[in-house]
Subunit: 338 residues, 2 copies
Amino acid sequence: MLSERRLEVLRAIVQDYVGTEEPVGSKALTERHRLGVSPATVRNDMAALEEEGYIAQPHTSAGRIPTDKGYRLFVDRLAGVKPLSTPERRAIHNFLDGAVDLDDVVARTVRLLAQLTRQVAVVQYPSLTRSTVRHVELLSLAPARVMLVLITDTGRVEQRMVDCPAPVGENALADLRARLNSRVVGRRFADVPQLVQDLPESFEKDDRGTVSTVLSILLETLVEETEERLMIGGTANLTRFGHDFPLTIRPVLEALEEQVVLLKLLGEAKDSEMTVRIGHENAHEGLNSTSVVAVGYGSGGEAVAKLGVVGPTRMDYPGTMGAVRAVARYVGQILAES
Amino acid sequence: MLSERRLEVLRAIVQDYVGTEEPVGSKALTERHRLGVSPATVRNDMAALEEEGYIAQPHTSAGRIPTDKGYRLFVDRLAGVKPLSTPERRAIHNFLDGAVDLDDVVARTVRLLAQLTRQVAVVQYPSLTRSTVRHVELLSLAPARVMLVLITDTGRVEQRMVDCPAPVGENALADLRARLNSRVVGRRFADVPQLVQDLPESFEKDDRGTVSTVLSILLETLVEETEERLMIGGTANLTRFGHDFPLTIRPVLEALEEQVVLLKLLGEAKDSEMTVRIGHENAHEGLNSTSVVAVGYGSGGEAVAKLGVVGPTRMDYPGTMGAVRAVARYVGQILAES
DNA sequence: CCTGGCACTCAATGGTCACGAGTGCCAGAT
DNA sequence: ATCTGGCACTCGTGACCATTGAGTGCCAGG
């Protein structure tokens, strides 16, 4: 068990190191934070903290820097979430109002997050499976060719071509469109498969082939699009990483390009609560020297997707968490209104 | 006028420098390329080339490196476009076949280009204004709310909400849909404004308000989307840039995030012909130490958008140009088929 | 349990020096 | 005229070394 003062020392170390990017020593600490004790005492505390694995020295006779475990303790017990300043709040509103469509909302959100946190921002598009259906449209493009269009309540649109086994009449198509919509509109995408299961049987024999083809493409779309799209931005902020550049930045850029990796990353975050993954807590090893702060956002109470930032483990956690939370909330509002 | 041999020397310098990333001296040159003359002669030639501004020395008593002007001469007169190897061609086919929708085509193209050239790839989405209309759809979502969906021959889909001044009946909507489509299907987007100009007049008075609202949104969409979307990838390749990292890479990353900058960049490229912009030929100063190789691609003979790569001025021009051209052609084919 | 003192460690800084790749120029060969 | 070999010169690079100072661990005393 660590004494109160030792925790205070750890907090001071984290704060100083985040600010200066340089290992912090006992003397400097006592000067910048009035801890009420002498450097020598701090040294003892530091030795204890190091013993426990919360801090480490890059080399003998240098100051200490926090370890991943140290940051973890800091985030969990020593730091709160810093609320944004009024100008920052205003910036969020100015920036996000005026978005015209979903693409635009996502694009603006990414830029905003990157600017606020000065880190790399990642925003996931609202997930299909968690959204509800606003409309399903079927367009006849050629005698045996139909375009299927899905529209979600979050404004997302997906379309697929369907090559039918036989020519489809306008009437049959209109019929299918009507029945399909009456069943699924307002329902969650996840429930669609069950809702349409018995649909082919209610059609005349001639059209059943077409109906089940359309339905299978519909279900396929849902499955395929479960692997979500996302947008990233602010990669230029990676240049502020460290001095030992290429080695640090390279794997991060590579990881960021692997959408699968990022999606898994966001997926690991809890839906409602803000999640912070520090350094080696990230499964992907390219991100072992970065931290990920992520949270779900949604139009209602429920999260339809996630967003967050990726930055060096040495980041301003309270500030970053504040920004991420504030942006997520406001994006949720925007989506609810649209 | 430069003698034949001096051009040969320049070519050798460019090739060596591109390979080794190090200033190349007279002795090393004569060793790697049998020019049939002694180092001393090469030195004289180099002095002449430097005099003319084709090469420069980073500091006295170091080898020479090509200047932007030198690369320009190299690209224009000394180098061809290197055709891809068979495995590379096969890779293109494997990679691009199997794309399901337009987003997927673009995403795969970006990855492919980035891998082939080991540089940053930029692919513009097929432009609306140069595409032709495949279908216009109007969906009634609420009594006075209509969703407008545009589908292009390149598979691109745009949608917009339209809030009508008065409730719209299904009949009126179907009527508008039919007339609209009969006028614009198969026509180029650029021609749409004229084609629909007199449409409101042919409707009954009650519906004219709705019709013109829908049309104005339609035209607005065309204008807004003239500023195109694009996708980039392969930014991790920037880490291979140079040793003096942060300074070089930073402005490039920043430029890459400015979609406007990139779009202008691609816009400057000629439609059909491959365009190479070297170093300071790029207007944006963040890209002053990079070269851009771009070319238009399209489903028919005509270009509907552009794609290209951004890399260090010290790049393998013949190879890069070969890859860019090959990919552009194949993407064109894919779009034509879909 | 805290404090001041002390000896020790070691990265960083800066100066000196030798090395060598590369240059420019010139006189002589082709 | 043009190319070549030779020669003196430049200057960045890397090795070596001494100095400096921030930071540490430990210990004896308050």
